[in-house]
Assembly symmetry: C2
Homo-oligomer: 220 residues x 2
DNA sequence: ATATTTTGTTAGAATGTTCTAACTTTATAC
DNA sequence: GTATAAAGTTAGAACATTCTAACAAAATAT
């Protein structure tokens, strides 16, 4: 098996690759808070192990082996987060750091049991899909809230970042997954949005916040 | 904080110290399956960190700091085992290896939540006491079954070893914690015991098994 | 009491993960 | 298109954890 360390690199490559299909050393370095030369040498190791393709001075790409490996770690992470929220009573803002550690536990039985107790969930507490046992993940393509138009009515489906701070901010505004949001206006200058949901008639969100909120249009 | 590795050493020292108040390098080496020179150099490190006292060619002893540190890891281990059995439906023979990993998770909240959900348990699924938040452990002094006499009636309180194999053996004999056992006879030659419990009237246990079973006399 | 065995230590090396400093290649700006 | 900046690489070192080989001390056996 792979080490804790290798698993964290694979996961970071996977996440950065989601958009462009590739990840570069500089971004990995920032994301993992590890200096570039260290990342560089780990890229060599992961390439030797067949998890990634790495040509000099080019971004790295996951092989199908690497992609599966990463997805299975993400599966363990997200099942854990779901378990912590649904079965242990943690808030969605409290589970990421714990899951970051438990995702490295080597015990298929442990995660199979979580999965079973949770009723084989498809999404985690942040709205992200949970890969299946083969590492296949179904990505529903949501829109970012900041790309919507004034007058749109949408449903809050997922967040793109799960830092404590951001989730606590949403908690403080009572803005939870599943909430129906009406966009009242958008400030052209800085992208600030005024929205309405539940009993809150004039809530204001900065563009930074809107970029991290994923929504689906309401079908009528 | 300390590394995963240091924590495993501390735990091993604690367990070996239980009987004699000290642990020697050779036994640690066998227990951890790590060669003596490696253990020796780790002893220097742990001594520098103030967890143990180590004079050359003498057994090591935990300082009170080291003892507390070790007890708090054991607390996490045993709470985890209890959680796995009581809240997730694992058998007592399936939980040790998972707990061996989860005991290293750094999250006071996580273990506090387990503790709360379990109702602040005092013993783990193998009958061992769970240290409190200050690392204090109340050891009830049970007897080993092999030290009892023919005719004694005793209650099965704990096991001294929790390997899969041993626990599966007990499962196969339907011999669970809490069972009341009557000792029918003891073979003087090899210490084999014939015992009676529940519907089993003539069960035979080797001395090796009897040494690993802790019991309390029945009060009448 | 001496020889043998067991236990403990030292020295030197290997592997894994990380760093800083120096250099090279690629991208961006003017 | 050249200058500057950003991204990527190489080299060399540090620290943690482990090993084997050789040696030393303590315990045990005869
Ligand atoms: Mn997460
Ligand atoms: Mn992690
Ligand atoms: Mn255990
Ligand atoms: Mn452990």
């Amino acid at each position: 098996m792979n080490t804790h360390t290798e698993e964290n690199y694979l996961k970071a490559i996977y996440n950065l690759s989601r958009v462009k299909g590739e990840a570069n050393v500089n971004e990995l370095s920032k994301q993992l808070d590890i200096k570039m030369p260290t990342v560089n040498s780990m890229m060599k190791k992961l390439a030797e192990k067949g998890f990634i393709i790495h040509e000099s001075y080019k971004p790295v790409r996951l092989t199908s082996k690497g992609e599966k490996e990463a997805a299975l770690i993400i599966r363990k992470h997200r099942l854990t987060e779901m378990f912590l929220v649904e079965k242990m009573g943690f808030g969605w803002d409290e589970v990421h750091n714990i899951a970051e550690q438990i995702e490295h536990v080597q015990s298929p039985d442990f995660f199979a049991k979580m999965d079973q107790l949770l009723g084989y969930p498809k999404i985690d507490p942040h709205g992200s899909p949970i890969p299946d046992k083969n590492g296949k993940m179904e990505w529903v393509e949501y829109h970012k809230l900041n790309e919507c138009k004034a007058g749109d009515i949408v449903n809050f489906k997922a967040v793109t970042h799960s830092s404590d701070d951001f989730l606590k901010f949403l908690n403080s505004r009572e803005l939870l997954l599943g909430t129906t949001i009406k966009i009242l206006s958008i400030e052209a200058f800085d992208g600030t949005m005024t929205i309405e949901y539940n009993k809150r008639k004039h809530e204001i969100l900065s563009q930074l916040v809107c970029e991290r909120i994923l929504v689906a249009p309401i079908k009528k």
